[in-house]
C-alpha cells in the first residue's frame, strides 16, 4: 500500500446518479478516519436536467489529507465519471496523470452523442495523459444486487454505492460508517438497504480482486487539535448558530423565510428545532418573510430571515424599516451568482456592496461574513449579538460555497459561548421625567454609550408607544418633519453603526516575521484559498501577510493603519472588486484585485499566481 499525504477525489454523474450521496458518505468515513477534509458540492440548478447531458452533471469534490488543509483542492487526482457527460464536464479540471474511473456501460453511442462527443474519448487519444480505468459499473451492480431481489430498474440505482465502494477501497476508507448509515437510513426498507450494501461490497471487492489497480492508497489521519469533531456544512452551522443565539440571548427565535437556493437548508434545519422554541414561518414571499421576522422582533423575539441575492433585493424596503424602527433583526444572505436569477447553485461574493448600500436613504447597518463552514456558527452568534445590543438589522454574507461545503468542526463547549443575554435588556419602566414631573416613555431616548434605543415590547404596561417608518423626533419618537431633527437622526443612526467598531476585535495580521511588504486582504469564503496560497508562497521562501475580515461594516478600527503599512495590498474576491473599492475609498490605498466570477470558489493556485505577480512588481519597484 502506498501512502499519500493528500488526495482530491471528484464524483461526477447524472443528477439522478446519487453523486452527492456518494460524496457525503465518503466524507463521513474520511472524517471518522481522522483526515482533515474540505468538500465542494457542485450541482446544476435544474432538479433533473435532461439525462446524460453536460448540463445535467452533478459533482461532489472532496480533498482529504494527513495535515490541515484549507480548500477542496484545485485539481482532482481522481475522477469518478458515471457517464460520458460527466467525463466531458470535468476532465479539463484534472491534474495531469490523474486517475479516471469510468462506468464503461454508459459509453454507448447514444450517451456519447448526448454528451456532445463526436468520437469516443476512450479511443481517440484525448485521455492519454490520464490513467483510465474502465469498469462496467452498471453490469456489475446489477449482478451484485440480485440476491436482494431488487428489480433491475431499481437495482441500477445502487451503482453510486458500487462506485463509492471502489473508491473506498482505493483509499482504504473504513467501511463500518457506511454500513451503519445504510442500516439506519433504510431501516424500514430492507431491500434497498441490502441492494446498496451489496453494491458497495461489490465495488470494494472489485478493487481488491480485479488486478487492474496497482495498489490501494492510504492517507493517514491528520494531526487535528484534540477535541470532539463533527462534519458540518455552512448552512447547518448557520442554523445551529441561530439556535445557539436564541439560547444564549434567552429569547425565542422566529425565522421568517421563503425557499430559495442555496439558503433553503437553513430553513429546513431550523424547522427541526421547535423544541428550542424556534418558530419557523415559511412565508408567501421574501417580503413577507422579512416583515414577519421584524414583527416578531417588535414583539421581543430574535427575528431572523434567510435568503439569497434575489430575495435580498426584495427585502430591501423592510430592512430599511428595521433600520428606522431600530429593532434587532438578523438577515442571512447566502450569496449566489447574479445578477437576476444568475447561477442559483453556484457561489459568488458579489452582494457585498448590496448589503452595505442596497437601500434608499442613508441606511447603514452592520455586515458580517463567515470564512469557513464552521465559522458560520460563530458568525451567526456575532450577528445576533450586534443586532440585539445595537437594535439594528445585521446582514450575514455567507455564500454557496460555504453553504454546501463541509469540514471537520471541533464542537465547542457550550459554556464558552458568549452570554448574549447580558448584551441587552428590555425596557420595563418610563425613562423620562418631563418638566411637569410626569414620567413618560420615550422610545427614541438612546443609550449614551451604544446609541441604541430602548426595546419596549408590547405587553409592558405604561410603555405604549407608536413607531413607524416616518422620521421620528430624537427622544420622544413622534413623527417629525423638522429638517434639523432629520439631519440629527440620520447622523445618529450612522454613528450608532460606526461606533460598533469599538466593540469588535482589531484585525489580526498573519505576518510571521513582520517583514512582508505585500498584504493579502480577504473576506468571507476566500479564506481557504488565500490561506493555502499564503502557506505555499511562504514555503517557497517568500514573505507575505494575510488579513481576513469578518466585520465588513464597520471595519475593525485598525484596518486603515494595517493596510497603509504595506507597500502593496492584494484583494482576492469572487466579484469584480467590491472590497477593493471600499478599501480604496476608505483608506486611499491603491489596492490591487484578483477577481474571478466563474461561479466557483477561488483556487489556491489562482491566489498563488496573483501573489507571485505582486511580489514580482515589488521587486521591480525596488530596483
Amino acid at each position: 500500500m502506498k501512502t499519500l499525504d493528500r488526495v482530491v477525489v471528484r464524483f461526477a454523474g447524472d443528477s439522478g446518479d446519487g453523486m452527492q450521496l456518494a460524496g457525503d458518505r465518503f466524507t463521513t468515513s474520511s472524517a471518522i478516519f481522522g483526515n482533515d477534509l474540505v468538500t465542494l458540492p457542485d450541482f446544476p440548478a435544474e432538479i433533473r436536467a435532461p439525462a446524460g447531458t453536460v448540463a445535467g452533471v452533478s459533482a461532489f469534490q472532496i480533498h482529504i489529507s494527513d495535515h490541515d488543509i484549507f480548500t477542496p483542492g484545485d485539481h482532482p487526482n481522481v475522477l469518478v465519471a458515471m457517464n460520458p457527460a460527466a467525463l466531458k464536464a470535468h476532465v479539463g479540471d484534472l491534474e495531469p496523470g490523474a486517475a479516471i474511473l469510468l462506468n464503461s456501460d454508459a459509453f454507448d453511442e447514444r450517451s456519447l452523442q448526448k454528451a456532445g462527443y463526436a468520437a469516443d474519448p476512450r479511443a481517440d487519444g484525448s485521455l492519454s495523459g490520464f490513467k483510465v480505468y474502465e469498469v462496467p459499473m452498471t453490469t456489475l451492480t446489477l449482478e451484485a444486487v440480485k440476491p436482494s431481489g431488487t428489480k433491475a430498474r431499481d437495482a441500477e440505482r445502487s451503482k453510486n454505492f458500487f462506485a463509492l465502494g471502489l473508491v473506498s477501497w482505493m483509499y482504504s476508507r473504513p467501511t463500518e460508517p457506511t454500513f451503519e448509515w445504510l442500516a439506519k437510513r433504510f431501516a424500514s426498507n430492507e431491500m434497498v438497504r441490502e441492494a446498496n450494501t451489496l453494491a458497495f461490497k461489490a465495488g470494494w471487492n472489485f478493487g481488491e480482486t480485479a488486478e487492474i489497480f496497482e495498489s490501494a492508497y492510504e492517507v493517514k489521519p491528520a494531526h487535528l487539535k484534540p477535541g470532539t469533531y463533527t462534519n458540518i456544512s455552512g448552512n447547518t452551522a448557520l442554523a445551529w448558530g441561530i439556535v445557539a443565539a436564541g439560547q444564549l440571548a434567552k429569547l425565542p427565535v422566529f425565522l421568517g423565510s421563503y425557499p430559495i437556493t442555496p439558503a433553503s437548508d437553513v430553513l429546513h434545519e431550523l424547522s427541526k428545532h421547535k423544541n428550542f422554541g424556534v418558530r419557523t414561518f415559511q412565508a408567501e414571499d421574501e417580503i413577507a418573510g422579512v416583515n414577519a421576522a421584524l414583527g416578531a422582533a417588535y414583539g421581543g423575539a430574535l427575528g431572523v430571515t434567510t435568503t439569497s441575492g434575489p430575495g435580498l433585493d426584495l427585502k430591501a424596503e423592510a430592512i430599511g424599516l428595521a433600520i428606522s424602527l431600530e429593532l434587532p433583526l438578523v438577515v442571512i444572505d447566502i450569496q449566489r451568482g447574479g445578477p437576476s436569477t444568475g447561477l442559483p447553485t453556484k457561489t459568488e461574493q458579489a452582494d457585498l456592496l448590496h448589503a452595505l448600500y442596497g437601500r434608499h436613504g442613508e441606511a447603514p447597518l452592520p455586515v458580517v461574513a463567515p470564512s469557513t463552514p464552521g465559522d458560520c456558527f460563530y458568525t451567526a452568534i456575532e450577528a445576533a449579538r450586534l443586532a440585539l445590543k445595537y437594535r439594528t438589522p445585521v446582514i450575514v454574507l455567507s455564500d454557496g460555497y460555504l453553504a454546501n461545503g463541509a469540514e471537520p468542526w471541533p464542537i465547542p463547549d457550550v459554556a464558552t459561548l458568549p452570554d448574549l443575554s447580558r448584551e441587552f435588556g428590555m425596557a420595563t419602566e418610563p425613562n423620562k421625567i418631563l418638566a411637569d414631573g410626569s414620567e413618560v416613555f420615550w422610545p427614541y431616548l438612546r443609550d449614551p454609550e451604544t446609541l441604541a434605543r430602548p426595546w419596549a415590547v408590547p405587553g409592558t404596561p405604561g410603555l405604549m408607544h407608536r413607531i413607524g417608518g416616518l422620521e421620528k423626533s430624537d427622544g420622544p419618537g413622534s413623527v417629525s418633519y423638522d429638517p434639523v431633527n432629520h439631519d440629527l437622526m440620520v447622523r445618529l443612526r450612522a454613528q450608532k453603526v460606526a461606533g460598533i467598531a469599538s466593540d469588535i476585535p482589531l484585525v489580526e495580521v498573519d505576518d510571521p516575521f513582520g517583514k512582508a511588504e505585500l498584504l493579502v486582504l480577504g473576506w468571507g469564503s476566500t479564506y481557504g484559498a488565500i490561506s493555502a496560497a499564503v502557506r505555499a508562497v511562504r514555503a517557497a521562501g517568500a514573505e507575505v501577510a494575510h488579513v481576513h475580515l469578518r466585520h465588513m461594516n464597520p471595519f475593525p478600527s485598525n484596518l486603515g493603519e494595517v493596510v497603509r503599512s504595506y507597500k502593496r495590498v492584494l484583494v482576492p474576491e469572487v466579484n469584480l472588486g467590491q472590497l477593493r473599492k471600499l478599501v480604496r475609498s476608505e483608506f486611499l490605498v491603491d489596492a490591487q484585485g484578483l477577481n474571478k466570477v466563474g461561479g466557483l470558489p477561488l483556487r489556491r493556485t489562482d491566489v498563488e499566481l496573483a501573489i507571485a505577480s505582486q511580489l514580482e512588481m515589488l521587486r521591480t519597484e525596488g530596483r
Binding site: 472524517a31 471518522i32 481522522g34 460508517p177 487535528l224 487539535k225 484534540p226 477535541g227 470532539t228 469533531y229 463533527t230 462534519n231 458540518i232 447547518t236 445551529w240 439556535v243 439560547q247 425565542p252 422566529f254 421568517g256 428545532h273 423544541n275 428550542f276 422554541g277 424556534v278 418558530r279 408567501e284 414571499d285 417580503i287 413577507a288 416583515n291 414577519a292 421576522a293 421584524l294 414583527g295 416578531a296 417588535y298 414583539g299 421581543g300 423575539a301 427575528g303 424596503e317 423592510a318 424599516l321 464542537i411 465547542p412 457550550v414 408590547p458 405587553g459 409592558t460 404596561p461 410603555l463 405604549m464 408607544h465 407608536r466 413607531i467 413607524g468 417608518g469 416616518l470 413623527v479
Partner: protein, 340 residues
C-alpha cells in the same frame, strides 16, 4: 393575579397625545371614534393591544391610539402583524389598511393572512381612491373612473373586497360603513371576538378626492332602500318597510325580489356559520359596487383553528416528544469523532 380585574378604561385612555391629521370631514375620524369608544366596552388592555398599519391615509391610525403600534411599509402590515401575532399569541393585534394598501401593493399578504387564519383583526378602509398620493384610482375604483392617472377613465375591473376575502376562505368576513357608528362598533366587536383572521371592509368617504362615493347607499335617505342588513338566522330583507328581500335562484345566485311576490317564507335565511363559503359569496355578489342594494353586516363567521395556536401546539408537541432544547446535544447530533 387571576383575581385582578383590569381597571375600567374610558375613550380618553385610548386616545394618544398626537394631533389627528386627517383632512377635516374625512370618514377616518368616525372609524377612529368607533374604535376608541369600543375598546373600553371590550375590556381590552392597552398594553396588550397593537395596531399595525401599512401606508396610506388610513395607516396613520396607529399614531392616534394610546396602545402599542407600528406604522410599517406599503402593503406589508399583514405580514409584519403575522410575525408579531405568531411570536406573541398573548397580544391582540389589529391591522389597519386601505384599499390600495391591502388590495394592490399588499394583495398577496392579505390573502395569505386570511387563508392561514392568523389571529388578526383586519379593518380595511375602502374609499375607492388613493388619497395620500392625491387622487389616483385604486383597485376598488369603479371602471371608467376619471382620475389624475386616468384622464380618459380607468380600464381596470375593480375588486370586491368581501368576495376576495371569501375566496381566500377567510373565517370572518364583514362589511360596515363610516356613517353608522353603532353598526361599525357592533361589527368591530364581532371581529374582535373572532378567534382567527377577522376581515372587515369599511366603506369610508374620502371627502377630498372621492367625495360621496358611497352616498347612493349610505346617505341617511338612501340607507333603508340600499343597505341590506345581514343578520344570522333571519331572512335577508330590506327596504323602508321591509318590502324587498333576497332569494337564491336556481343557479345559487342571490337576487333581489319583492317580498309580496315571493312570500316571506321564500326569502333566504342568512347563515353566517355555514362552512361552505358559497352562500356568503353569493350575497357578496349582490352588488358590484355601492350603487345598488348592498349587504352589510357579517357575511361569514366560522370556526377554524387559528395559525398561532397551531404553531404553539407544534412547539409544545416537539418539547413533549424531544424534551426541552439541549444545545450541547444538538451540536453533537451528527456523526462525531474524537481526536486525542
Amino acid at each position: 393575579m387571576t383575581d385582578l380585574i383590569a381597571p375600567a378604561t374610558t375613550r380618553k385612555d385610548w386616545a394618544s397625545d398626537q394631533e389627528v391629521r386627517w383632512c377635516p370631514g374625512c370618514g377616518d375620524y368616525s372609524i377612529l371614534t368607533a374604535v376608541q369608544l369600543l375598546m373600553p366596552e371590550l375590556g381590552a388592555k392597552r398594553e396588550e393591544t397593537v395596531f399595525v398599519s401599512g401606508i396610506g391615509c388610513s395607516s396613520r391610525f396607529p399614531y392616534y391610539m394610546n396602545t402599542y403600534g407600528v406604522h410599517s411599509i406599503h402593503g406589508r402590515a399583514p405580514a409584519l402583524a403575522t410575525g408579531l401575532a405568531v411570536a406573541r399569541p398573548d397580544l391582540h393585534v389589529w391591522v389597519i389598511t386601505g384599499d390600495g394598501d391591502a388590495l394592490s401593493i399588499g394583495g398577496n399578504h392579505l390573502l395569505h393572512a386570511l387563508r392561514r387564519n392568523v389571529n388578526l383583526t383586519i379593518i380595511l378602509f375602502n374609499n375607492q381612491i388613493y388619497g395620500l398620493t392625491k387622487g389616483q384610482y385604486s383597485p376598488t375604483s369603479e371602471a371608467g373612473k376619471v382620475t389624475k392617472s386616468t384622464p380618459f377613465g380607468s380600464l381596470d375591473h375593480p375588486f370586491n373586497p368581501v368576495s376576495l376575502a371569501l375566496g381566500a376562505e377567510a373565517t370572518f368576513v364583514a362589511r360596515t360603513h363610516d356613517m353608522d357608528r353603532k353598526h361599525m362598533m357592533e361589527t368591530f366587536r364581532r371581529a374582535y371576538q373572532h378567534k382567527g383572521a377577522a376581515f372587515v371592509e369599511v366603506y369610508q368617504n374620502c371627502n377630498v378626492f372621492n367625495d360621496g362615493a358611497f352616498d347612493a347607499i349610505t346617505s341617511k335617505d338612501n340607507r333603508p332602500s340600499m343597505l341590506v342588513p345581514l343578520e344570522h338566522g333571519k331572512p335577508v330583507r330590506f327596504g323602508p318597510d321591509g318590502e324587498k328581500g333576497v332569494v337564491l335562484d336556481a343557479h345559487g345566485s342571490a337576487v333581489i325580489v319583492d317580498v309580496s311576490e315571493v312570500g316571506e317564507d321564500a326569502l333566504l335565511v342568512h347563515d353566517e356559520a355555514r362552512e361552505d363559503p358559497a352562500l356568503a359569496f353569493s350575497l357578496s355578489r349582490l352588488a358590484s359596487g355601492p350603487y345598488s342594494p348592498t349587504p352589510i353586516g357579517v357575511f361569514r363567521a366560522v370556526e377554524r383553528p387559528d395559525y398561532g395556536s397551531l404553531v404553539e401546539d407544534q412547539l409544545a408537541d416537539a418539547a413533549a416528544r424531544k424534551g426541552p432544547g439541549d444545545l450541547a446535544a444538538l451540536l453533537r447530533s451528527g456523526t462525531t469523532w474524537t481526536v486525542a
